[in-house]
């Protein structure tokens, strides 16, 4: 195993143990900036680890999560790259430094560790959590339909055997409940970015209703700015807009809940696939994907810093 995060191979996919070891290594190397917090346990008792990047006490926070859908491997791999980018650029990049001097950044690299472990051991195409469903032989819940935002409405399924099964009740999944509890107890999360793949989109609320978010104009303009920045690197084609108008109606989604909690800058990404690979994006695409996404993340984080609410 690499001796330091400088030796870590960012151009490859890694299993859960490697990622968790990487996180510990990053914390050990940068203990003045990074700590690891455990916000809960998955159904199979794996820790739900979050990296906290902080330079002071009682700061408002920016949340980023990757890997809530386990088969979307480029998202976890990008999360690893983001974490290294943050420690590398702090003190060097004035914009990031300014952000971190005012805000904490929370990064959950493997939001669905049970599912992720399962993609490495049994079924590369597994998407959901791994909790059994009472009365069904089908396992797992779609953790992006399990939030208390239009829960149970159109754009989610009541059948445990489907990929968009919403679960028996809102926040029934420990992986979701842990984030809910964290966000509520923190109380000062000001931006929340949930990262998925694929299809190259940046989306904002809502997904469960066609009623526009009250901040739609600002969210749209910021999405435009973020995507302009993203495209400046490799000219990857992205679309942006509200979930329901850009892809489809989806109830119980993550950022609809966070927005309804008062987190204005709530976004979800669908990362690149280059139009050919879907969830099986080759490993040589990890760094370009992360690099371009980082530019968009920076745009969102900088706007959050410059527009306190």
């Amino acid at each position: 195993f690499p001796r330091s995060t400088d030796d870590f191979v960012y151009t490859n996919y890694h299993d859960l143990n490697s990622i968790y070891s990487f996180m510990d290594m990053l914390v050990a190397e940068n203990s003045n900036l990074v700590s690891k917090i455990v916000i809960g346990q998955s159904y199979e008792n794996r820790p739900l680890n979050v990296l906290k990047f902080s330079t002071g006490a009682n700061r408002p926070g920016i949340w980023i999560d990757t890997g809530i859908h386990s088969r979307e491997w480029v998202t976890q791999a990008s999360g690893i790259w983001f974490s290294k980018k943050i420690v590398t650029d702090y003190g060097r990049d004035p914009v990031l430094t300014d952000i971190l001097n005012n805000y904490d950044i929370f990064l959950e690299i493997v939001t669905n560790p049970d599912g992720f472990a399962y993609t490495h051991s049994r079924d590369r195409m597994w998407r959901k959590t791994r909790k059994p469903n009472s009365g069904s032989s089908c396992v797992g819940v779609d953790p992006n339909r399990n939030w208390d935002a239009g829960f149970g409405g159109a754009g989610s399924s009541s059948s445990p055997c489907t990929e968009t099964y919403r679960g028996p009740s809102a926040h029934s999944e420990p992986e979701v409940k842990a984030i809910v509890d964290f966000v509520k107890s923190h109380g000062k999360i000001k931006a929340f970015v949930s990262i998925h793949s694929y299809s190259q989109m940046l989306l904002y609320p809502y997904g469960y209703t066609s009623t526009p978010a009250k901040d739609q104009a600002e969210l749209h303009e910021l999405a435009r700015k973020a995507i302009t920045s993203l495209q400046s690197l490799y000219n990857t084609r992205y679309t942006y807009g509200s979930i329901i108008s850009t892809i489809y109606q989806a109830s119980g989604g993550t950022i609809d809940w966070t927005y309804n909690q008062g987190i204005k800058y709530s976004y979800t990404f669908e990362l690149r696939d280059t139009g050919r690979y879907g969830f099986i994006l080759p490993a040589n695409q990890i760094v370009p994907t992360a690099e371009e996404t980082w530019l968009a993340l920076m745009a969102i984080m900088e706007h959050t810093k410059n527009n306190p609410y």
Binding site: R122, E163, G278, P282
Partner: protein, 93 residues
């Protein structure tokens, strides 16, 4: 470990709402074991569907019969996964 030999991912480009409806009907055929990576929602968006080998003939016949355009996005899912695995093993070794 589940494998995906001979499975394909088709990129379907429906031209109107009628074809979207047909694709929705197709998605409800549980015995086909289809996994819609991008669901049929609107004619402006492509539909990507992972088709198990055992359903390929039937799905292609369905699309052909209804004159729904498609192309093969991934020729053999397992081939790509094998490449992915090889890269990971190469790194580990």
């Amino acid at each position: 470990k589940k494998t995906f030999e001979g499975d394909q991912v088709l990129r379907i480009t429906p031209k109107d709402e009628a074809q979207i409806s047909l694709l929705r009907e197709l998605s409800e055929q549980e015995h086909l074991g289809l996994d819609f990576w991008r669901e049929p929602v609107h004619e402006s968006l492509p539909v990507d569907v992972h088709v198990p080998f055992h359903s390929l003939q039937g799905v292609r016949a369905f699309l052909g019969y209804h004159q729904i355009q498609y192309n093969v996005m991934i020729m053999d899912v397992q081939d790509l996964l094998d490449d992915e695995e090889r890269e990971m093993v190469k790194y580990r070794s």
